[in-house]
């Protein structure tokens, strides 16, 4: 309760000083009595000192006022914290959560689609739920590497320059053969992916027989590439893939290219290992991407209109597909990607 004697005196200026004193005292008495009742009551009911601070907590939570440490007394070192992605339930470093989530939710760029699909399908179906925990350590990083380095930025640029003239038609044909252009496949979300999932598991691809030498080289530069004796498919994980040995990798390169080539690591832009200091260059490369494609996620940032969102996403899906086209993958792999694309599209609509 607030008492403002000056305002009272303004209201009734003809009253005497004594009257004020009387009213004032009365109010103060009432408030005092109320406080007494409160204390009396809590003492009788046994709640009086319940909310007092215990001395131990007081010391524990005291602010530390020393230079060089924060208010809790910790050194300003960044601790490695982990969190579980609400989207794919994977364990990952908290400082990389935003870039992960972007990919996991199917925004941004190609690699996301594989990441999302793999995390949901591969980890659950192939390895089983028990292995989730086991996967969170070293091997998970390898998994990521495999994904991200499939489409390194620099390489994309180079490939685009090289392949602009010849690749689109070839892949248009292959797409038609499979009967799943983007619009079609988005209608067949349920049945198409399964077919290809069985044929080409996300970690391996077939159809390498039809690749050109250049395409094989590109693929092997960033992937393990060992051909499984059982499925006759290539392993698409990184060079560090624990499933195969270096010797196997060397052999497959000899077999496919005739001679052993070394993946030039300088060319691999591993997006996932970008730290804060690199953000400038990453940004530049992002801007380059945005400039090179008329449609990018940034298009939809300012709009809130549902229609324009949908259309921009569709365009985005197309553009990412064209990226892949230039990457020169075998057609069967290509359609898998297209399907996962449409999968992603349908996922995105669910968010609305």
């Amino acid at each position: 309760m607030e008492i403002n004697p000056t305002e009272q005196s303004e209201d009734c200026s003809d009253a005497t000083e004594e009257d004020f004193a009387f009213v004032m005292n009365d109010i103060i008495d009432d408030i005092t009595l109320g406080l007494c009742f409160e204390i009396h009551r809590s003492s009788k009911l046994g709640t009086l000192f319940l909310s007092d601070t215990d001395p131990q907590s007081k010391v524990e939570h005291a602010i530390v006022d020393r230079p060089g440490v924060d208010v809790f007394g910790n050194l300003p070192a960044k601790k490695q914290l982990e969190c579980i992605c609400p989207n794919c339930q994977r364990n990952l470093a908290a400082s990389r959560f935003a870039p992960h989530l972007e990919k996991c939710m199917g925004m941004g760029r190609n690699s996301s689609r594989i990441a999302s699909r793999r995390s949901q399908k591969v980890l659950k179906d192939r390895l089983g739920p028990d292995s989730l925990k086991h996967d969170s350590g070293e091997s998970e990083d390898d998994y990521n590497d495999a994904d991200w380095s499939l489409y390194p930025d620099k390489k994309l640029k180079r490939l685009r320059k090289e392949k602009r003239s010849n690749s689109p038609r070839r892949h248009k044909n292959s797409r038609l053969k499979n009967g799943s252009s983007l619009t079609d496949s988005s209608l067949h979300i349920t049945d198409v992916p399964f077919k290809h999932e069985r044929a080409d598991t996300p970690d391996s691809i077939g159809g390498y027989e039809y690749m050109t030498l250049e395409e094989k080289k590109t693929l092997l530069m960033s992937t393990c590439g060992v051909i499984s004796g059982h499925t006759k498919k290539m392993c698409t994980r990184s060079h560090k893939c624990p499933q195969h040995t270096d010797e196997q990798r060397r052999q497959v390169r000899q077999f496919l290219l005739g001679t052993g080539i070394h993946g030039d690591d300088d060319d691999n832009v591993d997006i996932d290992t970008y730290v804060d200091g690199d953000s400038q260059s990453l940004r530049e490369s992002l801007q380059w991407e945005a400039a090179s494609y008329a449609s990018s996620p940034t298009d939809s940032t300012s709009t809130t209109n549902g229609n324009s969102h949908a259309s921009s996403r569709k365009r985005h899906g197309k553009s990412s597909k064209s990226k892949k086209r230039k990457n020169g993958k075998s057609h069967s792999f290509h359609t898998t990607v297209t399907n996962s694309n449409s999968n992603q599209l349908s996922n995105m609509y669910e968010f609305d």
Partner: protein, 437 residues
């Protein structure tokens, strides 16, 4: 069952007296005031009924029940927000370019009224399905509990980020974002999740929305358009969550065409504002709309040149000032880093609709002993770096005058002078006196 153990109450054997102000019962046989649970219950019920009939609702403090009392007695650890305790402070990890979000979260968490609301557990979720997973207000409530739990380790706001991204697609994506844009989007989401489910009311205008966000952040901006011909004034009032203030040199009164209505002699039009008050004066100055923007006057029916003036009709409890440091003109984007001073205490009276400039240019002053329009600074969000690439940090006030700098996971003590000398991007002021509605 009687808690106080007065044996005379049940049997009605002895005489009793009732205090007329507070309704306490004195038992003459006990020689003391007695507290009976059933009588308390009746009293509370009657209180509530009188409150619903228009009598001002009395504040009832929380009363622990049997079980809670036992628990409190067994567990003696207490978390108390005290002058020199770190309770309420917690670092937020950067999830990858999410410092804009961290700064806004820190500002919201240290908004005094919002804190009282959430710590009093006032939020009743209207969405309530999927275990409150989709409600941003519930998430904010959880973050409040995390901040006041006494845990000092860095908090990971990954669920918040996920929720914001799924709810507001235009904010989603791994890139640097504008803290102001995020604030407005976050307030909008919180508002929508507050009123979701309460059918019908969600369509009500923002003027009379009673969700906690609108109660705290919504102010009324009055816009008066005066016809030069007949002096007819047409007034509209718009709800606002923030006040965006221009920083660049004045555009409208660039020397050549000084408005005849310039009321503030100390702030020429073509002059970079150097203080928050300058900015506010410019914001509320009558502005000549010029010959290219003639408006049809509803009174005289002609297309006439007119002047427009913005004033504050209703002040929000928390006033958020946004200094427009990012300039986006056609062809170029740049950051304005000019120093703009801002006070620790701000009086909004000169910018109210009730004290706006008269036609003859004199300021109708209502300076008196009233301090009901006074505000105090409680949070400042700063941006360092360039327009493309930078970092957000935040100063927040805890208790009366303790300032802390929140740089993602790092919380350090700051001096008030340090805060006032900082560049300032978003300034959060809190009303000093809250009125009954």
């Amino acid at each position: 069952m009687t808690l106080s153990g007065c044996p005379h109450l049940k049997a009605l054997k002895s005489e009793k007296a009732v205090d007329m102000t507070y309704g306490m019962i004195n038992c003459f046989a006990c020689g003391d005031y007695v507290y009976d649970r059933e009588i308390d219950k009746i009293a509370r019920h009657l209180n509530a009924r009188s409150a619903s009939q228009g009598v001002l609702n009395q504040f009832v403090s929380w009363q622990p029940n049997h079980k809670e009392l036992d628990l409190l007695k067994k567990n003696t650890k207490r978390r108390r927000v005290e002058e020199c305790s770190t309770i309420g402070l917690r670092g937020l990890i950067n999830l990858g370019n999410t410092c804009f979000m961290n700064s806004i979260v820190q500002s919201l968490i240290h908004t005094p009224v919002l804190r009282e609301y959430f710590l009093a557990d006032k939020h009743v979720c209207q969405i309530a399905k999927d275990g409150n997973e989709q409600c941003l207000v519930c998430e904010l409530s959880r973050i409040f509990q995390e901040f006041y739990s006494g845990i000092s380790s860095t908090y990971i706001p990954f669920r918040l980020l996920h929720l914001v991204w799924t709810s507001a697609r235009h904010l989603a994506g791994y890139e640097q974002q504008d803290a102001h844009e995020f604030l407005i989007a976050a307030l909008d989401l919180l508002h929508r999740h507050c009123i979701a489910g309460s059918n019908g009311r969600s369509t009500s205008s923002p003027h009379n929305c009673h969700c906690i966000i609108d109660q705290i952040f919504t102010g009324g901006l009055q816009s008066d358009v005066t016809c030069q011909q007949c002096n007819n004034v047409s007034t509209t009032i718009d709800p606002i969550w923030d006040i965006s203030l221009d920083l660049g040199p004045g555009l409208y009164n660039n020397g050549s065409n000084p408005s005849p209505l310039t009321g503030y002699s100390n702030s020429p039009g073509n002059y970079d504002p150097t203080s928050l008050l300058d900015c506010l004066k410019r914001f509320t100055k009558p502005e000549h709309l010029g010959s290219s923007a003639k408006i049809k006057c509803s009174n005289c029916g002609n297309y006439q040149e007119s002047t427009k003036q913005l004033t504050m009709k209703k002040l929000p409890i928390v006033a958020c000032f946004h200094l427009k440091r990012f300039e986006h003109s056609t062809g170029y984007h740049k950051k304005i880093s000019t120093y703009v001073s801002f006070p620790e205490e701000l009086d909004m009276t000169p910018f109210m609709s009730s004290s706006k400039t008269n036609i003859n240019g004199s300021v109708h002053s209502t300076i008196g002993l009233s301090c009901k329009n006074k505000y105090s600074l409680f949070a400042v969000v700063n941006h360092s770096g360039t327009i493309e690439c930078g970092h957000y940090t935040c100063f927040i006030r805890q208790h009366k005058n303790q300032w802390f700098k929140c740089d993602d996971h790092l919380i350090t003590r700051a001096l008030p002078q340090e805060v006032l000398n900082s560049e300032g991007y978003l300034l959060f002021y809190h009303k000093q006196i809250l009125e009954y509605e």
